[in-house]
Symmetry: C2
Subunit: 346 residues, 2 copies
């Protein structure tokens, strides 16, 4: 998308005022001259309190996510693209085709209007690239010191076109565990950006939509048992959640988990374990062993970093442990993170 001029009079209102959330003229101007310009024309018969949609299927997935990432802009993304891909990916993880997003802004009084416009453009660009439409929204403004620039909520609706159930309950012993690329980039990109750190290379967030990879897997006839995106808490937490829900233990080969060299160095420097660092474009995929090869083939076409890899398998043991076979050959339990590794990464 080319950047386009904003018809909102930014010079007249260089900063967000409380009145921009007050339900009166200024809010109307913000909606009409900024939001509907970016996200699509105002309906002919006027904006409503809710939008009416005719869905092509009545089996849907529904999700919600709030985004409070700090800073708002970071290498590889910003709060806007994150907010779109976050909800798109949550829908994709149920095997749904994401169609519609809602957009709720909580703005802090005094926010630069130019910053808001930058985020709005990024949301539009991300929505276009993921093939979803922003169809309804809401704007609140909180007083100075009661927010942090911009918080965003996106909720999403996707339709489910296939007939089967994708969930931890489908997992079976012997299933292959696949990851669609290298881990740790989003968290390290945020952390480096926050701390003003510079590495030899720029570590960009892996923030990306996953719906096209999922569609390609389904189109290829892969029998997907479960998927989970590796956001807060990283790979380790996602696998633990699944192991607990499925009631199986999962074995993971540490050396098989792709980590970029610069990310590994960054993690070592900052004292993080890349297996716990957040990602925004990575997911774990559980398929029957016989679908391992075809799954990797499909995922490699969507590679946005190191290629997809087979990292582990589901054990017969029904203890819900995640067992890491480390580089030195020892086995250890890979537990869920107990405290907070890195706040406000999404």
């Amino acid at each position: 998308m080319e950047s386009f001029a904003c018809p909102f009079p930014i010079q007249q209102y260089p900063q967000v005022l409380l009145a921009h959330g007050g339900g009166g003229k200024l809010m109307q101007q913000l909606i009409e001259k900024m939001f509907t310009v970016a996200f699509g024309p105002k309906p002919q018969d006027g904006l409503h309190d809710s939008v009416v949609l005719d869905l092509p299927k009545s089996r849907i997935a529904f999700t919600t996510d709030s985004f409070v990432v700090h800073p708002l802009f970071f290498p590889g993304g910003d709060i806007g693209s994150l907010a779109v891909y976050g909800s798109v990916n949550d829908l994709a993880m149920s095997g749904a085709k994401p169609l519609y997003l809602s957009l709720g802004f909580i703005l802090e009084e005094g926010l630069s209007m130019q910053t808001l416009w930058g985020v709005v453009q990024s949301i539009k660009k991300a929505a276009d690239s993921a093939g979803v439409q922003i169809v309804t929204g809401d704007t609140k403004v909180v007083d100075r010191g009661k927010g942090d620039g911009i918080y965003i909520n996106t909720s999403g609706i996707g339709i489910i076109e296939h007939g089967f159930n994708i969930s931890p309950g489908r997992i079976k012993s012997g299933d292959a565990v696949i990851i669609n690329g290298d881990v740790g980039r989003h968290g390290i990109a945020i952390m480096a950006s926050r701390a003003g750190l510079e590495f030899e290379t720029i570590i960009e967030s892996d923030c990306a939509p996953l719906n096209f990879s999922v569609k390609a897997l389904l189109d290829a006839g892969i029998e997907i048992h479960c998927m989970r995106d590796l956001t807060r808490g990283g790979l380790a937490s996602a696998l633990n959640e699944i192991a607990q829900a499925a009631g199986y233990s999962i074995a993971v080969e540490e050396s098989a988990v792709p980590v970029r060299e610069d990310v590994a160095s960054g993690c070592a420097m900052l004292g993080f374990d890349p297996l716990y660092v957040a990602n925004e474009g990575r997911f774990a995929l559980f398929v029957p062993e016989k679908h391992l090869g075809p799954s990797l083939e499909v995922l490699k076409k969507f590679s946005l970093g190191l290629p997809a890899a087979h990292i582990g398998r589901v054990l017969e043991e029904r203890k819900s442990f995640v067992i890491l076979k480390s580089f030195i050959g020892a086995n250890r339990i890979l537990d869920m993170i107990s405290g907070e590794q890195l706040p406000r990464i999404c």
Copy 2:
């Protein structure tokens, strides 16, 4: 709903920590021991990134709203009931039957866990009373001083069972304008609560679900042209939005607009015009003149304050003005509010 004991160890964690939003063990405990206890059992096959729903209809309404009200608890409601009824009412205004809500929390580090539990119970009670289910959620925690206790987003899905279109585009000259009760209570309740003001009577917010009134109107065969709830900006702003979208002027009789005496006094004391003060259980209804009587009959059964009233009509003039015939008989333009009358009332 009777209040029930919270299995979350509030004594162990009396305040919300950053880790409660960190994706690890503490977040899992909060979800499992507080949220899923209140909102329904964890699905047998585990929590997903999104929820899969089989809708009885594929024509739906979709809405989103964030809530930043201050204070969190006020006479007649709290941020929890407001967050439920707000989205329920936005769906009802499209003539939809609200079914499902998502729930996104942005919590401030240090928030009292008891307060959170109070809000969670209120959400459950309100959802039950409106006949909707909380089906998916998200929790983020921001550092101290970057929020204000609790912000909530609810997004909602409702199904549309009737075959016609309810929108400003349906309005015709001669339509009767009806309001379902007295105005100004929500805003004055919040303001009084914030300022520590006491009136002779307690002014409670009118916060209530509107879906049952709307269903009764539809069931009675009322030909609803348009509805709009009178939240931020009050009656005056809602009518202006509709006049602009419909392209008709609307005449309103000031003496016909129900305002409770204590609310009128409160407004006079605080310098507010009740026509601009926010409501959370009031809506304007546009119907053909011949349906005026039956509409009032239906609405009076749902009265939660002064009864429903016929307050005005749609003119032939296509100038999009809202014209107020005042108590002294003079006509004046009732404009949209330009600044901010009262921030953070919803």
